[in-house]
């Protein structure tokens, strides 16, 4: 079974994946384009998403060896978006974090990553939008059907130009969500 889905929130993705596993599936492949492949199984599985964006090759090997010793299987991971997918058979040890400090550090890594990319998108947006206006200057002096034709023609390009700004908002919201979870952990 294949399902296509796009997530902008790591915890929502983890929740959705585990909902699929509870229906009697295990995940066999996750592609970068958002195609999740599942396979029917009689056993029960759980999936956990860790976040590690900065793992050089030797560290990654040590990281994987450690999780695999605990019975986890590495499904997929990339340093680009930092998400590491771990799956294992359901038993009494289903978590990847066993104390508050390490769970807090997980949210801190998420915050640092969102902040960095958010700031990058914001800086890029400022550069892009201060140089030129969104629509072609001459557009506003056109009249009637010519105006609408040009307007409709240009709009997709304008939306494309707005992409870095949308991304900045997206990263800001994921920073905010991770920060909320982090403060909740600290207060409890």
């Amino acid at each position: 079974m294949k399902k296509v889905k796009v997530f902008f929130n790591i915890e929502k993705e983890e929740k959705w994946l585990n909902e699929q596993l509870q229906k009697g599936y295990r995940c066999t492949n996750i592609s970068s384009l958002g195609v999740y492949t599942f396979e029917k199984t009689d056993k029960k599985y759980v999936l956990r998403l860790d976040f590690q964006d900065n793992l050089p090759k030797n560290k990654l090997e040590e990281y994987k060896a450690m999780y695999e010793d605990f019975g986890w299987t590495y499904l997929k991971g990339s340093g680009l978006n930092g998400i590491r997918y771990w799956q294992k058979e359901d038993n009494e040890q289903n978590e990847i974090f066993s104390d508050r400090q390490s769970k807090g550090n997980y949210y801190r890594r998420l915050m640092a990553y969102s902040f960095m990319l958010g700031a990058l998108c914001l800086a890029y947006s400022f550069m892009l939008y201060s140089d030129s206006s969104l629509y072609h200057e001459g557009l506003w002096s056109m009249d009637g059907s010519l105006f609408w034709k040009a307007f409709i023609f240009e709009t997709p390009f304008v939306l494309l130009k707005l992409l870095p700004a949308f991304m900045a908002v997206l990263f800001a919201s994921s920073y905010y969500k991770a920060h909320q979870k982090y403060s909740m952990l600290k207060e409890q």
Partner: protein, 100 residues
């Protein structure tokens, strides 16, 4: 100001105690389960992060490999930290006993 890992968390404390003998990560977890009488069972991500952190601060060091796994052992700095923690905890215990 005091070191940011002090006083030691239960996780860090048990890892340092277990690594007075050289162990790789999973063996340290099993040792900790045993010496804590089954009350502390570390998860993979927690153990990985804690070992990274203790290694970064020079309280443990890698002393070899067992396949892909690294074997760690406490350093003299780490032992000094345990000594300090022992004195701190002994003092607290003496306060318990004084009030009885």
């Amino acid at each position: 100001m005091r070191h940011k890992l002090l006083p030691l968390s239960e996780t860090m404390h048990y890892i340092l105690l277990a690594l007075r003998e050289p162990h790789h990560g999973y063996a340290a977890m099993q040792k900790i389960e045993e010496i804590s009488k089954g009350t502390v069972i570390l998860a993979a991500g927690t153990l990985y992060g804690a070992i990274e952190n203790l290694n970064k601060h020079g309280w443990i060091e890698s002393v070899g490999n067992s396949g892909r796994r690294k074997i760690y052992k406490i350093t003299t700095d780490g032992e000094a930290v345990l000594k300090m923690e022992q004195e701190r905890l002994l003092h607290i215990i003496s306060l318990y006993e004084g009030s009885e």
